[in-house]
């Protein structure tokens, strides 16, 4: 019986044992010094073998795909963890993590945040990798020449998210915030806020929870003295028709 277990070492090495056999062998390996020694021996014997592989250049786009997915999954997990203890929370929304990852991916490259209206297409490339961009507009102003960016509606699993990415935004002070608004007729609906970083770059991902019956006419950004306003109180800096 003992001998037979030791004979399974190589099949264990190649993960060829069934669940039960595997558990039994692991228990055996724990207590059999012959097998432990042999295990080391096989590790050493096989160590150089991967280097036999022919040198193949991976697809250039692979890194982006892999890292986006890896970081998206980790956000997913972090979002889902509290779900397990809080019963009453709504179901986790799967699209949010991958959208966040799209934003994170942008931050992997140092130059991505250099916005101008000419670069609109480049900027949209990352979100499109992970989901469908339904509509996208450039955001610019009359009086702030350099500031600008894009707003995109991104659809994923029946949910729509507004992704706004802005560059060269004028610095804020105190409790000042940029607030984003969805405009329908003469009504304005809040759609998140952001504070740009030192270099004037800011972005937000806003899950649009308003009914799909709304027909948005425009998107606007205002400079608010305080965050979380239900209606714009400050000056509207940018307005783009949809």
């Amino acid at each position: 019986m003992e001998r037979k277990q030791c004979d399974q070492l190589l099949d264990y090495y190649n993960d060829q044992l069934t669940g039960e056999e595997k558990a039994a062998f692991e228990a055996h390996l724990h207590s059999c010094s012959d097998c432990q020694q042999e295990w080391q021996e096989w590790q050493a014997l096989t160590e150089p073998l991967p280097y036999l592989s022919e040198d193949i250049t991976p697809p250039a786009s692979m890194k982006k795909r892999v890292l986006t997915n890896v970081f998206a999954e980790s956000l997913d997990q972090k979002q889902e963890q509290p779900e397990q203890v809080t019963v009453l929370k709504p179901k986790p929304r799967r699209w949010l993590p991958s959208l966040l990852a799209a934003g994170l991916l942008l931050s992997l490259g140092a130059n991505v945040y250099l916005y101008s209206t000419k670069q609109t297409n480049d900027q949209q490339a990352a979100p499109q990798e992970v989901s469908k961009t339904a509509q996208s507009v450039a955001l610019g102003t009359v009086d702030q020449k350099e500031a600008g960016g894009t707003a995109s509606f991104i659809q994923e699993n029946q949910a729509t998210n507004l992704v706004v990415q802005m560059g060269k935004m004028p610095k804020l002070s105190g409790t000042q915030t940029y607030q984003v608004w969805l405009v329908e007729g003469d009504k304005k609906y809040p759609a998140g806020s952001f504070v740009p970083n030192e270099s004037g770059n800011g972005s937000l991902i806003y899950p649009i929870h308003y009914s799909s019956k709304h027909k948005w006419d425009a998107i606007a950004i205002s400079l608010e003295p305080k965050p979380h306003n239900k209606q714009p109180k400050g000056k509207i800096l940018m307005l783009s028709k949809l």
């Binding site: 014997l45 280097y51 991976p58 697809p59």
Partner: protein, 186 residues
């Protein structure tokens, strides 16, 4: 050169440092892709394997500890296991697909990328000193992850002799390989 070691990078990965994972990715992308491709034979599956591997590195904190040996050896072992797993799932569903349109886009090789030309040459020379039956056995055992019973059946050998033959082939390989140069990683 003050180059940060793999093990140090992994420490940072454990502290949720994305740049550290990206650096490890840059170092090993080519080696892991080439190794995976040798096992799974398609670009798509190789990519899937690599994604799985980095997912494990990122999510399963503590998956690597110093007592598991060199980080690179650990990484290659995880990659092999992942590939063999994919290969098994794949062969259950369909016949092996041969990847004809493998994109061979040129990516820049920086100093930070692991290269293994010299090792490969020495190993290939060592392999060429094995009999063709020994070469096939190594292929079936290591690169296809076959069980001893499968190898016995494919090579028409008594089950009890399979392990001895694999060991003999690998010992020979290692001996010739080491005679022809310094050990890997030194």
């Amino acid at each position: 050169m003050g180059r940060i070691s793999d093990e140090e990078l992994y420490e940072l990965v454990q502290a949720d440092n994305k740049e550290a994972l990206e650096q490890l990715y840059d170092r090993y992308e080519k080696l892991l892709f080439s190794f995976s491709y040798k096992i799974v034979n398609t670009s798509d599956l190789a990519e899937e394997a690599i994604q799985d591997v980095f997912m494990k590195l990122w999510r399963k904190k503590g998956i690597y500890t110093a007592d598991k040996g060199k980080f690179s050896s650990f990484l290659l072992t995880v990659t092999r296991n992942t590939c063999l797993d994919l290969l098994r799932k794949q062969s259950k569903n369909q016949v092996e697909l041969l990847d004809k349109d493998l994109e061979r886009e040129q990516t820049e090789s920086t100093e930070e990328t692991v290269t293994w030309n010299e090792e490969r040459q020495r190993l290939q020379e060592a392999v060429s000193t094995l009999s063709s039956e020994q070469q096939e056995i190594v292929q079936l055992f290591y690169f296809k992850g076959c069980s001893q019973a499968t190898i016995a059946e494919k090579k028409d050998l008594p089950l009890g002799t399979v392990k001895g033959r694999i060991r003999l082939a690998l010992q020979h390989l290692r001996k010739v390989y080491e005679e022809r140069g310094d050990r890997i990683g030194t």
